[in-house]
């Protein structure tokens, strides 16, 4: 139940933030006060954040919050698949913070000796079924995906959302026969929004960001595969204090509120 309390608190905070950011960038009293509490100790400085593609919306917002709270600082983002980012870091790409959509790719970067300290889990995501708006095929359960004549699209097992799908399949004993195994969750979502597929398996946050273009059908088996998002500062950072400041913002109450608003669960 503590989880539920936390989410409620986060939602309340998110509401407050929404109001503040809604006032525009010239708002000084409330916005800066709120953000300061999250990263008061972080000095200004430019940082580059490598973040999983699924964090684009939330991290862009958090980046603006960070810049408001730390005048003169600038946060640069590179959003891509976690494995792409891990590979880029391994090849020597310069970044200060890495936020991965799964522990596997974070472990790769840790094993390569690129992380300062140890990663912190800051969010979690679960799968949901998405269908065309209004759910015309009447899909209400995970088993329904195997119904004759239902075109289902999932992620390939090689990518995080696909390995989550596999876990759910194993746990529930339902073997899906997808018509396509996409290499990214965005491709799955696009196949459903374009009407190519009847249903797809994506993360709750993807369904939330697609808004009215899809109908999300939650299913209990999803709890079998919870995807954890870790974040870490990188040892190559020239502005480690600023990097830590951003991590603190993400893991702190303000960051958690923004993430909760987008549908992320707490780790």
């Amino acid at each position: 139940m503590s989880w539920r309390r936390a989410t409620t608190g986060a939602a309340a905070a998110a509401l407050g933030l929404g109001l503040l950011t809604g006032c525009g960038s010239n708002d000084d009293s409330g916005a800066s006060g709120s953000a300061e509490s999250a990263s008061a100790s972080a000095p200004g400085g430019d940082i580059t954040v490598f973040a999983a593609a699924s964090l684009k919306g939330t991290f862009t917002e958090l980046g603006q919050m960070y810049e408001t709270a730390n005048p003169g600082s600038h946060v640069e983002f590179s959003f891509a698949g976690s494995s792409d980012l891990a590979a880029q870091l391994d090849q020597g790409a310069a970044a200060d913070v890495f936020a991965s959509a799964d522990t596997t790719n974070m472990t790769k970067v840790v094993d390569a000796g690129l992380v300062e300290g140890s990663p912190v889990d800051f969010a979690a995501n679960t799968l949901t079924i998405v269908t065309a708006p209004g759910n015309p095929k009447g899909i209400t359960s995970f088993t329904d995906l195997n119904r004759e004549g239902t075109l289902v699209v999932t992620c390939a097992p090689q990518v995080p959302c696909g390995s989550a799908t596999q876990k759910v399949e194993t746990a529930s004993g339902v073997d899906l026969t997808p018509v396509s195994e996409e290499s990214s969750v965005t491709d799955v979502l696009n196949k459903v929004t374009a009407g190519q597929a009847d249903a797809g398996l994506v993360y709750v946050t993807d369904a939330a960001s697609a808004g009215e273009k899809v109908t999300a059908v939650a299913f209990p088996e999803a709890a079998q595969a919870v995807n954890t998002y870790p974040i870490a500062t990188l040892s190559a950072s020239k502005t480690p204090d600023a990097a830590q400041g951003f991590v603190d913002l993400v893991t702190g109450p303000d960051g958690q509120a923004v993430l909760a608003k987008a549908g992320f669960a707490q780790p």
Partner: protein, 268 residues
């Protein structure tokens, strides 16, 4: 096509020109060597003969061959019309037809989705008629043909223009029907151009990625061609991706070099 351009400078290219030329060559070739150097040879055979790799290679060769046939069937008449006829709007038509050359393949994929997709302009009627294109190998061939067709048209149109129409006129004056002229005079005359055009389309179809990913999907043995398999393998096993990339490069080199040899013999 380049061969036909025959600008012969028998003696004395300016010496400096070799420097940028060598740099350009290096720029193209070096990445290939870098990839070659990073191949994990101890696992190479095992990686490229895995079930998924072989399925992808087989699918790629099959779809690229089918696309090339489609390109020839549609592209030869297109090139003939563009090079030998004149009517209002021909220039606009040519630009439109060549559009896939400059479009990012993803854009092509989106366009195809809204044409042949289940909710698409033509696709919705096909669905009603019981013809399903979504997530089938047909979708892959459509995507490949879409991006590869302009290569054949451009290449062949160039050959047709270079060849001129003197022999065609002569044949026609001697009483040959337009079809006979086209079959017995025009086509044999531009055969090397046709072959190099077909090879270009085959190579382009073989490398097609964006439109396939966007439009056709990705399922082993059905829609997951070699480029898609490479992209997917990259997620978990970089060595497998490099090994498969090498296979794709070797296949492409064999085809290009082989056909160049053939075309030059045919041209003599």
């Amino acid at each position: 096509m380049i061969r036909e351009a025959r600008v012969r400078v028998p003696s004395g290219l300016p010496g400096w020109i070799f420097v940028p030329a060598a740099l350009g060559g290096l720029f193209v070739v070096l990445p290939l060597f870098a990839m070659l150097a990073s191949v994990d040879w101890s696992r190479f055979f095992q990686l490229v003969t895995s079930e998924s790799s072989l399925a992808a290679l087989e699918l790629s060769l099959r779809t690229a061959a089918l696309s090339t046939v489609l390109c020839v069937l549609l592209g030869v008449p297109m090139a003939a019309v563009l090079s030998r006829s004149s009517f209002r709007g021909l220039h606009v038509l040519r630009s439109l037809v060549l559009l896939p050359l400059v479009l990012p393949p993803v854009v092509g994929g989106i366009a195809l989705l809204y044409t042949f997709g289940r909710k698409g302009l033509i696709g919705q009627h096909l669905e009603v008629a019981g013809i399903h294109i979504a997530f089938t190998t047909t979708a892959v061939v459509l995507a490949q043909t879409f991006v590869a067709l302009p290569f054949l048209v451009v290449s062949l149109e160039g050959s047709l223009r270079t060849a001129g129409s003197r022999y065609e006129h002569a044949a026609a004056t001697l009483g040959a029907s337009p079809t006979t002229v086209f079959r017995r005079v025009t086509l044999p005359l531009v055969l090397p151009g046709l072959v190099s055009g077909a090879v270009l389309s085959f190579a382009r179809a073989l490398g097609e990625f964006g439109a396939t990913l966007t439009f056709a999907g990705s399922l082993q043995g059905v829609t997951r061609t070699l480029p898609l398999e490479i992209y997917l393998q990259r997620e978990t096993d970089a060595d497998a991706a490099v090994a498969l990339s090498l296979v794709l490069v070797v296949v492409a080199v064999l085809i290009v070099v082989g056909s160049r040899g053939w075309a030059s013999r045919a041209a003599v």
